[in-house]
Symmetry: C2
Subunit: 284 residues, 2 copies
Amino acid sequence: MNEILLFRTVDQMQSTSLRWRREGVRIGLVPTMGALHEGHLSLIDLVRPHCDRLVVSVFVNPTQFGPTEDFDRYPRDLDRDMTLLADRGTDAIFAPEAREVYPAGHATFVEVEGLSSVYEGAIRPGHFRGVCTIVAKLYNIILPDVAAFGQKDAQQAAVLRKLTRDLHLPIQFLVGPTVREADGLAMSSRNSYLKADERPKATVLFRALKAGEASIRAGERQGDKVREAMRKVIDQVPEFKPDYSDIVWPESFEQVDEVRGDVLAIVAGRIGSVRLIDNLTVTV
Amino acid sequence: MNEILLFRTVDQMQSTSLRWRREGVRIGLVPTMGALHEGHLSLIDLVRPHCDRLVVSVFVNPTQFGPTEDFDRYPRDLDRDMTLLADRGTDAIFAPEAREVYPAGHATFVEVEGLSSVYEGAIRPGHFRGVCTIVAKLYNIILPDVAAFGQKDAQQAAVLRKLTRDLHLPIQFLVGPTVREADGLAMSSRNSYLKADERPKATVLFRALKAGEASIRAGERQGDKVREAMRKVIDQVPEFKPDYSDIVWPESFEQVDEVRGDVLAIVAGRIGSVRLIDNLTVTV
């Protein structure tokens, strides 16, 4: 196991980042909520060539969970995460307590309008506001020159790219491809919630996306017809309760009427108590 | 006149700031909307000893004006501002066009809850959201190690100090004292709107604040009695239409019941079409 620095306070992390910056060190950041899987680890490989020191934040951010969501049961295992990160070549972990990041009286929030209120934003009110706020904080604490996010959370990546550009942050913004299990299920920390009998059903998301892709590949250009192809797959798995399945433009998340260029197939919903989300870019 | 750099685009300014930072230069920032007076210039003197390069931003920020406010008639004279700044020892001016800072599709906003919705925030809905958003942008474009704001806009200073702390920005936050005309009127770019017959009436704000201070100095500790002393002065000038006059705690802007420690006397209102605002810290 390689040597790895662990920072538990904002001051420890920021004073190190400030020193690195003074020394001309280029800092990379991969923000995570821990419970790491190959999806996260692949982002380390993505950022590594662009930086001298790579920091992974491990923080289950309370402000991005709704009151009825899984904040309390979200998997936490910092020792395991540290081992995985050290083996993958991470220089430092920032794993603060919530009171470090949100001290009493905290009242400042960052928001991206429009994009934050559709799809995931509509299902999870306040979610993206929490995501934007924590990422703005991590940017200021870790002072990265480059940061990477997963395409698995495509709308989050779009919201954060917008935030990074709109606020003129001098940060290179990278998005790494979704990493999948052998049967196509997108890797997610929440997959661990799936019961044995639910796990095979969970491929329905990827199969719906592939059905949308196949219909486009077969020449379909009407958004509604592509949506219908996706819906057919979903309807075959009654255990899956969809929140949405759709074809949207990748930056604005507006619905696609007529397919051209890059479009994004998106799907989200529940199997039992487990919420799953996936997407696939299709280029015509 | 000393040499001074003028940056009109975000890229020009930020690439210079990034170069300065790589060279270990300590950057100071004084954000302004131009129409400079001694209040602004005194902030340059305040920041100067704390930095190697001093940047003054001159930008009439559209997002902090309400639809019926004075955005269009706000005084603009960049040549005059440049001369004043060069004479006072400013290294660079950042004076972008609005479309540089708010390109089409801009959708990201920063907000400080609570403090932003009382007094100035209640009278001017959205004002502090605009202020917070532009200052977050200026922080990211100019990358200051130290920034200074005027006590004249006490609630703005309190909101921005909160933003700077809550978002963990590694920026030293300075507040410079209000600079006044000989008769006590707080210097403001908006004083130029006052007609000749209105100008003498405008001292009512400072006189109300001084009456509040005098009542505290005389031993009064009941907030309501201090407010009454201020109100008496205001009532003598019927041309002044107050939005509020009050005694509040300097950080939270909550009303003071019983005076102790530092309290802040605040007053704002209109004379004719001119809106004026002032405050005075009183220490018991």
